[in-house]
Amino acid sequence: MARMANRVLDESRDTMAELLGAKPGQIIFTSGGTEADNLAITGVAQATGKTVICSAVEHHAVLEPTAAAGGRVIGVHPNGQLNLDQLSATLEELKGDVGLVSVMAANNETGIIQPIEQVVDIVKATAPDALIHTDAIQAVCWMDVAQLAADVDLISVSGHKFGAPKGVGVLVARDGAIFAPQALGGGQERDRRGGTQNVPGIGAMAAAAKAVGRERPAAVHRVRHLRDKLRDQILGSVADAYETGEGVAPDQRTAGMCHLCFQGVENESLLFLLEQAGVMASAASSCASGATDPSHVLAAMGVPRSLAAGSLRLSLGYTSTEADVDAAAEAVIAAVSKIRSRS
């Protein structure tokens, strides 16, 4: 039994390494993206005693450990992309006291892609001792993580974002990326993450990773076309509606994300009516109670709170079809019109 489990772990490690452009020994299995992010941020902060830095649009799984470690937050431009000048200035200011710079590959709410290669160049030039972390959780389905994060030291990935069951993820840690483990004892994952591995989850994640590796190029092309169609149908029929991140180049959004804001619409009402019409969508991120919290991402981009209150996040996947997109557009148009006529 133990041998069978070990074989699943070994083979899954190889598969994940291939998808993410890493060596098998650099793959650390975790319980998901949040644990991977925490391990990177808190782990490096503890190991180096130096400042950690992240962008203002990171997931809370990065923002909160960064805040807990007394770290710094770098703003974004109104288009949602990192303010690289501010990053440079902060690195200059902190001189050698930077342990880690964490910038996500693609944003989980808006799908807007961050300039990771430029971040790498700036950090290598200004703070060569600092490690670079990227939360690539939202990117795996739509981008070649192996390529985009080739020069990144630590990469977080979550299985359920690309077809695995919930509760499994990976932290890639390149050789020489030193961090303090957070779960001690047990010796698993070469002492970098103690605790029994979720073997069935890991096996499932590897199977999903193979499918992603196979299908991504064609899927990205097809889904991007569907997403554009969905956006154009809605924006063509609804007044006072905007795509989030004005001025972002079309190839700087993940193919599967359609993020819109509707003036004068409360997104909780919109989500409720869409659910009744069979369209499952979300707004910002959900808090522990299940309520929709105001989005820190849109706030960081300078979107007014009143407009952000009408945000809608429509996610497409590899299995989305033309018929899905038509039905979703129709439902959104009808729901917004209903809400506006009744309030």
């Binding site: 409360e266 909780e268 009402s269 409720f272 009516l273 808090c287 522990a288 109670s289 299940g290 309520a291 929709t292 919290d293 105001p294 209903k338 809400i339 009744r342 309030s343």
Partner: protein
């Protein structure tokens, strides 16, 4: 169905389903800060969701935290700053449950809204034969919540259901236990839901406003002591004044924010024949004759007439702290209400 996660709204939902309604459960997220009781915590949302699973109905959480801050928490703080004793549950009902939630229900296409309040809605024939609706006391007199619903108008009453108003709290718990709801033994909520019992009002207000000391004076204006924060003093208060070995009971009879003075007197100094009020509303037509007036959630009713913006007591009554909700009753029907002002 507005579901707080408590036993009353859980059973109310069950009763509505039994009566054949198509029910959707909604829990309001009102307060993001620290709290240990009441309607706002994550564990209450979890309880409500479990009840909804159990009853087989949809459950949603609406985030009204911004409005709660604006209409309940901030006015609560500024009322204390003015030397008033506000009633945040009444303001939450007025602005959140019976305004924001009602409007949300309209937008989403629901025809009725229900809550778990212990009160009833009764209907009488009006002059033009259209029915006039009133909130009436719940049949469990000890748990009656009609006082905090005095602000409901005809349009709201026509669309509101109060399913547990016709049964006692004991019966509510029995039903909850019969149908196996996990909230059956949950204790009643107490106190202000956004103030933790650990820090209390002093810490909550102290974090938000500067608390100022004030002189304690007797009715002749002689200084007899000091209080550390005038914002925490309530009219009618007897304890915590540190008046030493005073044999006679003495009460706060006036709070003057301008002069930073708290006047202390005997019970007879508290007694007044009239009480000014503001924001007077009537459920239907104004009532000119004798009515019964209730000035606190668990207080008793006193006979009075309402003239202009004054309550004229039939017998002298103690002054009521300014900022308190007033519910006006004819028998067990709420016919109107308002908010007390500082008595002269």
């Amino acid at each position: 169905m507005a579901m707080s996660g408590g036993v009353d709204s859980s059973v109310a939902a069950a009763l509505l389903i039994e009566a054949g309604h198509s029910v959707t459960g909604v829990t309001l997220k009102l307060w993001g800060g620290e709290s240990d009781s009441g309607c706002c915590s994550v564990s209450d949302v979890d309880d409500a969701r479990r009840v909804a699973y159990r009853l087989g109905i949809e459950h949603h959480v609406f985030n009204f935290a911004d409005e709660f801050d604006e209409f309940v928490v901030e006015p609560y703080v500024s009322a204390h700053q003015r030397g008033e004793t506000p009633n945040p549950c009444v303001e939450c009902n007025r602005h959140l449950k019976f305004d924001k939630l009602m409007r949300r229900a309209d937008t989403l296409g629901f025809d009725m809204v229900a809550t778990g309040h212990h009160a009833r809605i009764v209907s009488r024939q009006g002059i033009d034969s259209a029915p006039v609706r009133y909130v009436a006391r719940g049949c469990d007199k000890a748990k009656d919540q009609s006082y905090v619903l005095y602000m409901l108008d005809q349009a709201t009453l026509a669309r509101l259901l109060l399913p547990v108003g016709d049964i006692t709290k004991g019966r509510v718990r029995e039903i909850a236990s019969e149908i196996g709801l996990n909230t059956a033994d949950k204790p009643d909520s107490q106190d202000v839901c956004f103030i933790s019992s650990k820090g209390g009002r002093r810490v909550f207000l102290g974090d938000r406003i500067a608390l100022s000391p004030a002189r304690l004076v007797d009715v002749d204006g002689q200084t007899i002591g000091q209080v550390s924060s005038i914002e925490l003093v309530t009219l009618g208060q007897r304890r915590g004044l540190n008046l030493g070995g005073d044999e006679e009971r003495r009460y706060v009879v006036d709070i003057d924010r301008q002069a930073e003075e708290v006047t202390v007197g005997h019970r007879e100094d508290l007694m007044v024949s009239s009480q000014p009020i503001r924001d007077l509303i009537w459920t239907d037509a104004p009532v000119g004759g004798e009515v019964q007036v209730q000035c606190s959630a668990h207080g008793s009713c006193r006979a009075a007439t309402i003239k202009g913006s004054e309550i004229l007591w039939s017998q002298p009554q103690p002054r009521v702290a300014p900022g308190q909700a007033v519910a006006i009753y004819c028998d067990d029907r709420v016919v109107g209400g308002g908010v007390t002002e500082r008595a002269r």
